[in-house]
């Protein structure tokens, strides 16, 4: 399979990117940014996408790397999953991230696929957006005339649909340190399609436990709906309660309240809802166990 013909340009800087995007706009050509291409190229080979211009941003140094200060961590958009997984502090602080990176696609795809691509692609079945959503991540966006930051929850709109304009580029993802009191624990659980490894359902739970009470709970779900989402009802049920198994069951049963599930030849809607509930229980139990272990080590 070959992609449809396109013109290729390699950008050395953000200024290059903006100049190329502007030129494509003036000439009424559809342009796409490519970094790892692990989502875009398969779509292009299937002719589900046929951009006329591809702008390669993989070599822009400013878009790579992970920087942390005392209040947040910023991950460059062109940082690969492989690099992210090799960042020990991040995996230690957010085990859910390490969970997701261990089951995301395969080692070859993780070597090319990027964090910015995972977000900008707007794939309803992507692993990392669930983790980033549960961690309240922010998407850093730049255009020629300025920069803006949008909560990931506001950025994701629908199937392959995001709040990114044609003249904009995602430059980074920022995760603020979790401010909740107590000990933090997180986990990601998924049920993978056996060939594509994409999540038919995936759930990330981030909890903090203080004095035997759940001080905060953030739960995000991917794979079952047009876009990854936060399970607000589940989070409210858990809040300020001791983590009993009956509470976790009750919270998990509300994980898809108000959601109309995706349904296709891989998995029916009701099956996806069932998976989401089971995976929510598992993710919560593992996140709480990790938080409790952290309490003991404090």
């Amino acid at each position: 399979m070959f992609p449809a013909d396109f013109a290729y340009a390699r950008a050395g800087s953000l200024d290059d990117v903006f100049a190329l995007l502007e030129q494509a706009r003036v000439e009424d050509e559809e342009a796409k940014l490519i970094a790892g291409g692990q989502s875009l190229l398969p779509l292009m080979k299937l002719r589900l996408a046929a951009p006329q211009v591809l702008i390669d941003i993989a070599d822009i140094a400013d878009l790579k790397g992970i920087a942390s200060n005392h209040e947040s961590t910023t991950i460059g958009a062109a940082t690969t999953y492989r690099s992210l997984g090799q960042h020990e502090n991040l995996a230690a602080r957010y085990p859910a991230m390490a969970d997701a990176l261990a089951v995301l696609a395969d080692q070859q795809v993780r070597a090319r696929g990027t964090v910015g691509g995972a977000v900008a692609h707007g794939d309803p079945a992507a692993d990392l957006p669930a983790v980033l959503l549960a961690l309240d991540a922010t998407v850093e966006i730049t255009a020629r005339d300025g920069a803006r930051a949008v909560a990931l929850d506001d950025f994701l709109l629908g199937i392959y649909e995001t709040d990114l304009a044609e003249d904009e580029i995602v430059t980074a993802i920022t995760i603020k340190d979790q401010a909740a009191p107590g000990a933090l624990g997180s986990a990601y659980e998924k049920f993978a399609h056996p060939a594509s490894h994409l999540p038919i359902a995936g759930v990330c739970a981030v909890v903090s436990v203080e004095n035997g009470i759940i001080a905060s709970a953030q739960v995000a779900v991917t794979g079952i709906s047009p876009r990854p989402y936060r399970a607000g009802d589940t989070e409210r049920i858990l809040h300020s309660e001791p983590p009993r198994s009956s509470l976790i069951e009750q919270a998990a049963s509300q994980v898809a309240t108000g959601i109309t599930p995706l349904s296709d030849h891989h998995a029916s809607g009701p099956y996806r809802l069932h998976l989401a509930e089971v995976l929510t229980r598992r993710a919560l139990n593992r996140a709480i166990a990790r938080a409790t272990a952290n309490t003991r080590s404090l």
Binding site: A9, L20, Q23, A24, A31, P42, D106, Q107, Q108, A111
Partner: protein, 169 residues
């Protein structure tokens, strides 16, 4: 139009500089096979799933059916042809190739180049992997005939040989 529909790709393959001008949509696997006649790298599923096309790009295993040749321009590629030392039939096989031979890690052999290149990455990342580590890390490579048993045995044998030789890649 911004950009060019024909791209001159210059890269280093198995230590040798190579260049060719190709349509921008040319995939790295086709560049290697059709332009450079390095046909050891196979096209299997062509959908980023089977791993038969695995090569190392700047030393890291990737699926060459899902990389544009243009993206690889300026970078270093290692293919299955770059692993053995000396001339074909007379040189010394790479320890992973030797282990595949010793453990009969193949039947039809179609997936083998990709398996070897993927295992090379696994052993670079985990010099002393457990059987589970190998099986999990090989999830991007599909074999349709051996059932993986001997492939995993070959990977374990190669790990021992490479640790003994202090070899990393």
């Amino acid at each position: 139009m911004p950009g060019a529909s024909e791209v001159t790709v210059r890269l280093t393959v198995n230590g040798t500089a190579a260049a060719a001008t190709v349509p921008a949509r040319t995939l790295l696997v086709h560049f290697l096979r059709d332009e450079l006649r390095l046909t050891g790298t196979h096209v299997g599923c062509d959908t980023t799933q089977c791993g038969a096309c695995t090569v190392a790009l700047d030393g890291v295993a990737v699926k060459s059916c899902t990389v544009l040749a243009a993206q690889a321009s300026g970078h270093e590629i290692t293919t299955i042809e770059g692993l053995a030392e000396g001339s074909p039939g007379e040189g010394r096989l790479h320890p992973i190739q030797q282990a595949f031979r010793d453990e009969h890690g193949l039947q039809c052999g179609y997936c083998t180049p990709g398996m070897v290149m993927a295992i090379r990455q696994i052993l670079a990342d985990h010099p002393d992997p457990s059987e589970d580590d190998i099986r999990h890390a090989l999830n991007g490579n599909i074999c349709r005939c051996t059932g993986y048993q001997n492939i995993v045995a070959a990977a374990r044998k190669a790990a021992v040989a490479m640790r003994a030789a202090g070899q990393e890649g």
